[in-house]
């Protein structure tokens, strides 16, 4: 009788532990899954994944090198294909903008139905991104602005290109598009 009871109890405890373990595993999986995706899609995209970037103004020297490296990174890691030619619908400019608190900005259309982006303008501010700023940092800002031009919004994850501030991303070791940034682009194109 005693042996039967302890067998039933043992069985119940085992089942209970199994259920609890399964629930915990599910919670952990869901937590990781929600953390895994940081990218934010604006809902606007280009009708084609092949897009031309026109460089205007003083996009020369290290600014040009950084822009080319950013474009190469997109071409190698994502489904989009970017190339530099004058007259492209994505404009890249290097400008001096006095005391404005941005290192780069992007303006894009596509906020109205059918939510297709037909043009975007990106700028890099030489007040903060001086000739002495490293190519790596400039590349990070171009990667960020091109990400906006392609339809990504900011993320809250400082270990991605699309975080609000390039210094934080750089501090966290971000140099090129991260898996999350790539997933964000490839989810659209």
């Amino acid at each position: 009788m005693k042996g039967k009871f302890s067998s039933i109890t043992r069985g119940f405890i085992l089942r209970f532990v199994c259920v609890i373990t399964t629930i915990c595993a599910l919670v952990v999986c869901l937590t990781f899954a929600s953390h895994a995706r940081a990218y934010e899609i604006s809902g606007h995209k280009w009708s084609s994944s092949t897009i031309i970037v026109g460089a205007y103004g003083d996009v020369s020297g290290t600014y040009r090198t950084a822009l080319q490296q950013a474009i190469d990174n997109y071409n190698q890691q994502t489904h989009v294909h970017l190339s530099i030619h004058n007259g492209g619908p994505i404009v890249a400019q290097v400008v001096y903008e006095s005391h404005k608190d941005w290192a780069g900005l992007c303006e894009r259309d596509g906020s109205q139905p059918p939510y297709r982006i037909t043009w975007a303008r990106t700028k890099m501010n030489t007040r903060w991104m001086t000739s002495g700023t490293s190519v790596a940092k400039k590349r990070l800002v171009w990667l960020h602005e091109l990400g906006h031009a392609l339809g990504l919004n900011h993320t809250n994850n400082a270990s991605t290109v699309m975080y609000f501030n390039a210094d934080y991303s750089s501090f966290n070791g971000v140099q090129y598009l991260t898996r999350d940034d790539i997933n964000g682009i490839n989810a659209q194109y």
């Binding site: 900005l105 303006e107 906006h148 900011h154 501030n165």
Partner: protein, 215 residues
């Protein structure tokens, strides 16, 4: 006798007219048409996305970073081509200061706010009453000369707070027109975050007196 009555009547009428016009001037601020406050706008509604050079971990940090902190009203605005980047535009807003919390500007003075773009939710609008944390764009560097007399918003959008309640504009008008009870009145005028973003650790609402204490 009849002539005296006429003269007296004219004098009384003139006096009444003068008094009425003076009273009108005195309450001009309170009766001014103001726009409905815009609070908690999502950054994703803007066509513009920025890679910020600085993120603020507190209101104190933003206040320390600002050359000027002012509350007031947008009186007019115009769109111009950006002198730095032909083909792009900036919106220049004339802003009448009603309370100056930091910097060399005084209530009643007008300054120009320079914001990138046009026709965008991120840009302050005519008749909006806002609290602004600003940078003076001309820093003495010759390259900054085209922006002399203009101010940019600290943290692009972070430094804009909208008047929390329309009826607090009356108290703000009192602050502008008189220096008495300033501290008490500043406690009663509250501003709320214009644009919501996780990028900065800023309070949702602040009173003018709280901001004054931070500087």
């Amino acid at each position: 006798m009849k002539k005296n009555i006429v003269v007296q009547a004219i004098a009384v009428t003139l006096s009444a007219l003068i008094c009425a016009s003076l009273a009108g001037c005195g309450s001009a601020g309170a009766n001014q048409k103001i726009a409905q406050p815009r609070i908690g706008i999502s950054q994703s509604t803007s066509r513009f996305q920025f890679s910020r050079v600085k993120l603020y971990s507190s209101m104190k940090e933003m206040a320390d970073d600002s050359s000027h902190i002012v509350a007031g009203i947008v009186t007019s605005q115009k769109v111009e081509e950006d002198v730095a980047a032909p083909g792009t535009h900036v919106t220049l807003s004339k802003f009448r200061i009603m309370d100056s919390l930091k910097g060399d500007k005084k209530a009643g003075e007008e300054i120009t706010i320079n914001q990138d773009g046009r026709d965008d939710p991120m840009i302050i609008k005519k008749n909006e009453v806002v609290l602004l944390f600003l940078h003076e764009m001309y820093t003495g560097d010759a390259r900054d000369l085209p922006w002399k007399g203009q101010y940019s918003v600290a943290g692009v959008w972070a430094g804009i707070y909208s008047l929390s309640k329309v009826n607090e504009f009356t108290t703000l008008s009192t602050i502008e027109s008189t220096s008495s009870n300033r501290e008490k009145n500043e406690e009663e005028v509250n501003f709320s975050r214009f644009m919501i973003s996780d990028s900065d650790q800023l309070p949702e609402t602040v009173s003018l007196s709280e901001v004054r204490e931070m500087k």
